[in-house]
């Protein structure tokens, strides 16, 4: 059915504006219908001379097709000549059916709307107008509304676009760049579970308890060691009495004292008394 010579005249789909269909000279067949070339243009019908199937596929629906017919023939949309428009519309629909184009149902709905308007216009004018005004009103409004959107879509297509009309600048990060690391969250319960795991593995169930006091002592031990470590450079020792903070009260003094004893026992610190009843100097052991 499709003649290669006709195909050659096809408007490419990208060039999607059907109004660009150029009127060709009589030499070429104006359309192909049932394999036969139609050389003559029907009197009241405007059909672009390009391959019909392609053109027809370009319409976005019945409103688009109607608008095309109206604009092409410079009909006044506000005074729509229903009779010729209906005839032409039906010709198109028939053509679409003939070339077995998959015809959207909307085209047939529109055909019946047009037929209905046409028949109502045939009624005596007065009767019609008294009842519900001009029967074309609704169709005209729809056509206008669609035309506004069709036009808006064309405008959007013309807006500057990224990667077509403008390109986004970007730069690389410096070689020394390191992303921020979001630290792993740890739950106190995880810590306890971990320790209990260790305990189980040691398989030594001597029922010792970690007591608050002993923990405090161990904490104080660490604190004293840290203090002595800092002191080490400026002054090689700390006075025993300086390790105590009076504000902590009796309990604090006891904890510190126990810590010092434990540290001595574990050989983590050394205590030197240079004279009897003199200040005891506490320091980290000399290596």
């Amino acid at each position: 059915m499709s003649d290669p010579s006709a195909k050659a005249a096809i408007v490419t789909p990208q060039d999607s504006n059907p109004t660009k269909g150029v009127m060709l000279q009589q030499v070429l067949p104006f359309a192909l219908l049932r394999g036969e070339a139609i050389a003559e243009k029907p009197q009241d019908l405007f059909i672009p001379p390009d391959a019909l199937e392609i053109i027809l596929e370009m319409f976005e629906g019945p409103l688009d097709l109607l608008l095309y017919l109206i604009r092409k023939q410079k009909f006044d949309i506000l005074d729509l000549p229903i009779a010729p428009i209906t005839t032409q519309y039906m010709t198109y629909v028939d053509l679409m059916k003939d070339i077995k184009l998959e015809l959207a149902a909307e085209y047939l709905v529109m055909a019946s709307i047009l037929a209905e308007i046409k028949s109502r216009l045939l009624l005596p004018k007065q009767a019609v107008e008294e009842e519900e005004g001009d029967p074309r009103a609704e169709l005209v409004r729809k056509l206008q509304e669609y035309e506004v959107i069709k036009n808006a879509a064309e405008n959007i297509d013309q807006l500057p676009r990224i990667d077509r009309d403008s390109f986004i600048a970007s730069v690389e990060l410096a070689e020394n760049f390191v992303p921020e690391i979001v630290n792993t969250q740890v739950d106190l319960a995880e810590l306890v579970t971990a320790l209990q795991g260790v305990i189980k593995r040691t398989q030594a169930y001597e029922h010792h308890h970690i007591q608050k006091e002993s923990l405090s002592t161990r904490e104080r031990m660490a604190k004293i060691l840290a203090t002595l470590k800092d002191a080490d450079k400026a002054q090689p020792y700390y006075n025993f009495s300086d390790l105590f903070t009076i504000k902590e009260g009796k309990q604090g003094v006891v904890v510190t004292f126990l810590a010092v004893l434990e540290l001595i026992k574990e050989s983590l610190i050394t205590c030197i008394q240079t004279q009897v009843y003199g200040e005891i100097r506490v320091s980290l052991p000399k290596s």
Binding site: E60, A104, A153
Partner: protein
């Protein structure tokens, strides 16, 4: 060595920064970000340690914009913030290398997009009514995947159809700052009968 930069609350907004350094930092941030940056985003993501006002950031942005006038890239404001992009007059020289990157959109997609942009919020049924044809699911999918449209609720009519609206990414893509920058709709003549 990977440095772990754990921001504790004390480190937030505690440092002073002079204009010269601030300008360098904002400029760098705008260039490395993979999306337009608003004043808020700049402050939240890049300047978290510094004590800076929105007004000062805006002044710095203006200074950068002035600096880049007439150069190979310019700092533009789009819907979701500021970004560096090439000026329109260079596009022809730059485009041929990237032509395949810019997809073409069918009339069906553009008309659906236009309806959503201009008439939002709008249902699929309303779009079909105006266009006079069914809107395929593929069109909605394409527009949604491009992040140009989003659902913003349901219309309280039988069936509670989804309502669509346009997104900031839609405006960004077309280099618009807001919906009112869309081309004006053509005026409709009155059908006076």
């Amino acid at each position: 060595m990977v440095k772990s930069v754990e921001l504790n609350p004390e480190k937030i907004r505690h440092k002073d920064i002079d204009d010269a350094k601030l300008q360098r930092l904002v400029e760098a941030a705008l260039f490395i970000a993979d999306k337009p940056l608003s004043v808020q985003l700049l402050k939240r993501d890049f300047l978290i340690e510094y004590r800076v006002s929105n007004l000062r950031i805006r002044d710095i942005i203006n200074a950068i914009q002035a600096d880049y006038k007439g150069r190979g890239v310019e700092l533009n404001k789009v819907a979701s913030g500021y970004r560096f992009q090439t000026p329109a007059d260079l596009s022809e020289d730059l485009a041929h290398l990237y032509k395949e990157k810019a997809p073409k959109y069918s009339r069906a997609i553009l008309e659906t997009l236009a309806l959503i942009a201009y008439k939002q919020p709008i249902t699929r049924g309303e779009i079909e009514d105006i266009r006079g044809v069914a809107v395929s699911s593929q069109i909605i999918k394409t527009l949604t995947e491009r992040n140009w449209i989003k659902t913003v609720g349901h219309k309280e009519v039988p069936g509670r159809p989804v309502l669509y609206a346009s997104t900031q990414e839609f405006l960004d893509y077309f280099s618009l700052t807001s919906l009112d920058q869309l081309p004006a709709l053509m005026p409709m003549e009155d059908f006076n009968h």
